[in-house]
Symmetry: C2
Subunit: 452 residues, 2 copies
């Protein structure tokens, strides 16, 4: 049976959820067994505590191991803690070993050590534990197939038949020397297409793109995408193959990094999603809004300096938000393009002069257009050409502030080793608010006699 | 030789660029031949017109075909138009046929028809041309390997050896019936691990996840990621296999969609990047800023209604931007989470009640916190408790406006068939500006006697 999945399809998980909550455990078990582990993972996320317990009990050890491969971090942690301690090592033995390492990292160290001691794959999983989670080493799995260059294609195929590697780990076969140093790579297609008695040395590709265990996961994602690979070998300083990163993990990294950038720009907690518990959302969003509020008081203090001027010319208040806001939005445009171009590797910190020159020119053009429009409208509307001049010039200058900030803030953050997206949008609006009020009300104060 | 690429590595393309601009064509040709087509594509992007001409001339037909597979849309269009008309059909025959279809779509119809008529792969490429670029049909390639269920594993391997499929297209082999309807799938690993005399029917997986040609590319990306597949078959209404989408194309879609969402939220042109020509950047950014400016005048008009009140109580102007801005930022937090959660398929339009209830509660909490802080500070600073009350209540109410808008705007855009990211952030700040001024200055006008 071929299932064509379309957006409108009814979710089969709904029926299992009903059966589970209605205590029809046999019915649920039957449907569960037919379900893809990725869909089981989605279902699990939606269940309450008691239902989760029941669902896990209905899955075989193999099914539990497969389920682990499709979970997000929080749920992986939850299941790792929920599984009976005697069962955990057996489940982890059957899952991809990068996932097993992730699960172990999430347990209290004593429990992780105990579980590891009982695992058959301990020797493969242990080396993965030393690498930070967001590095190539933390992403890799040890489950690669190693060949020797003197083998024939037929021998390699016999080896594969005996090893029965996991699907994700079998596409590339790595050719290692006697000291486990990476010499080349052969893919399954090359193996099948070649004659059986040809030596591996004569089919293998020697020019292999690889990363080090400490390479950042984002850099690894770039390379895999750039060269359109299905897996990326991780090689240590002496050239020894430490593990491989598979394309499915890279797809997750790409999604994760894009979400992070969007959330960081908006000042939202990186781990939040639409159904995060209320308490968590409060904890994640309020600190940044507090920071924003503190800066807004700085803006208020600037306006307060000019309270006397506003008292004399109340019409000034009308254009105040526009001068800050229009430049703020222009700055966010610039910052967004900077952040994304840096994330995609299209712009480096060394491009700063070229980018700044472009954005300043663009800022001047935008400033000239919108400054003139605002100036004219303010003049006609309020019947005062000096008010028009003050508003127009202030917007023009603030557009230049926005362009400078939009380029310099993300680039400075990157140079200082932070993620360039870190509240880049926020810093930008803060600056354009402060500078906008200062320039506009300052000019108005200088020319206050012509404004009344 | 194993190349470990690290972020700091010097770009070998720099040397070719030097050689090309210094007219050392032989040297450049030699280095180019050793370069991965993905790196050739990056180099090509950096060259000027004359250098591009030289570089293309130095590549063989095969190398040109491979280069096409690594280009972004604009460069693909540029090369398709640059290649000599007699050469184009031969280059397109050698590239993946989804890329060939993309290139043909970018030519004037008459030229595309002429090129197609001279292509050997015309029968494979033509069906791809009828599908829109951003659908599964526009993304798929016809280059799949088809098997019959009565074949043995050995026969299938012999077929593969004869067909020599492209690397990206060979991992899954599709089992079709006599009318080309998809019956199952076998991957290379299953084939190698199985005995040679076993029938394909006994190794194949019957439960195949597939999409229709008109499925949106984002939905296809979801499925491939969700089930951790390397390719996704595209099947028409009668069950006939039309083509396959490979994981490398999906990675591009994921990056593209994430960029689009970020840019749409900030109101930046979707195709822009840091080094887009100035003219293009102006054309892409100014329209949205104009739209923003028009709305800002609506905000100005609201403030203008209350000019008399501001004349009496100039201190009101101090807190005006903060009440609009703090709520605007809170709204962008909500909108960002909505947009991303919808993009990742975590939230559907039908979840509206649940999400709205959560965000309204959250808005009330944020409003209570920041409203009290603002109220107290305004009271102490300006020595007027009614001013504190007015500012605090206005911020509280505007936080509820922000929460409602942050949920409803992206969801309404999605329901109307637009991308939910489309300037969702902008609409949100517009509403919080307008409503913030209205509530704050309206309240102040009602209580103006106690404010002076």
């Amino acid at each position: 049976m071929v299932t064509t999945i379309e957006p409108e399809d009814v979710d089969p998980a709904d029926r299992i959820e009903e059966l589970l909550s209605g205590d029809n455990v046999e019915g649920a078990a039957e449907l569960l067994a037919d379900m893809h582990p990725a869909d089981q993972a989605d279902l699990y996320d939606r269940l309450d505590d008691a239902e989760r317990e029941t669902m896990l009990a209905l899955l075989s050890t193999e099914a539990r191991a497969q389920l682990l491969e499709h979970l997000d971090e929080e749920t992986l942690e939850e299941i790792a803690q929920r599984l009976p301690r005697v069962e955990l090592p057996r489940v982890l033995d059957l899952t991809k070993n990068d996932i097993a390492a992730d699960a172990l990292r999430m347990l209290p160290p004593a429990e992780a050590a105990l579980a590891l001691a009982q695992m058959k794959t301990a020797s493969e999983v242990t080396p993965l534990l030393i690498h930070p989670d967001e590095s190539a080493g933390g992403l890799m799995t040890r489950g690669f197939v190693a060949l020797h260059k003197d083998m024939t294609v037929g021998e390699a195929m016999t080896l594969l038949r005996a090893r029965k590697p996991l699907a994700e780990e079998a596409y590339y076969l790595y050719v290692l020397d006697a000291r486990n140093r990476l010499e080349g790579v052969v893919n399954l297609r090359q193996l099948i297409v070649a004659e059986r008695d040809v030596r591996i040395e004569d089919v293998m590709t020697r020019d292999v793109v690889s990363v080090r265990p400490d390479t950042d996961q984002e850099e690894a994602a770039h390379l895999l995408q750039h060269y359109r690979l299905r897996a990326l070998p991780v090689v240590d300083e002496s050239g020894v193959l430490s593990g491989i990163i598979t394309a499915d993990d890279i797809i997750d990294v790409i999604q994760e990094e894009a979400t992070e950038d969007m959330y960081r720009m908006a000042g939202v907690g990186v781990k939040e999603w639409a159904f995060s518990p209320l308490r968590e959302s409060v904890i994640r969003r309020v600190p940044w809004l507090s920071f924003n509020m503190a800066w807004a008081f700085a803006g208020a203090a600037v306006i307060s300096l000019f309270e006397g001027t506003i008292q004399k010319v109340a019409a000034l208040a009308i254009f105040m938000p526009m001068i800050a806001g229009q430049a703020g939005n222009a700055g966010i445009q610039t910052a967004t393009i900077m952040v994304r171009s840096m994330a995609l590797g299209e712009v480096k910190v060394s491009d700063i002069a070229r980018v700044l020159a472009k954005e300043l020119t663009l800022g001047a053009i935008k400033g000239a257009i919108f400054g003139s429009v605002l100036g004219l409208i303010a003049w006609v509307w309020k019947g005062n050409e000096v008010l028009g001049l003050v508003a127009g010039v202030a917007l023009f200058c603030n557009m230049l502030v926005a362009a400078t900030a939009g380029v310099l803030i993300p680039m400075t953050l990157r140079r200082l080793g932070f993620d360039p997206a870190t509240i880049a949008g926020v810093f930008d609006t803060m600056l354009t608010d402060l500078m906008g009020f200062l320039i506009y009300l300052g000019l108005a104060t200088l020319l206050v006699d012509q404004l009344t």
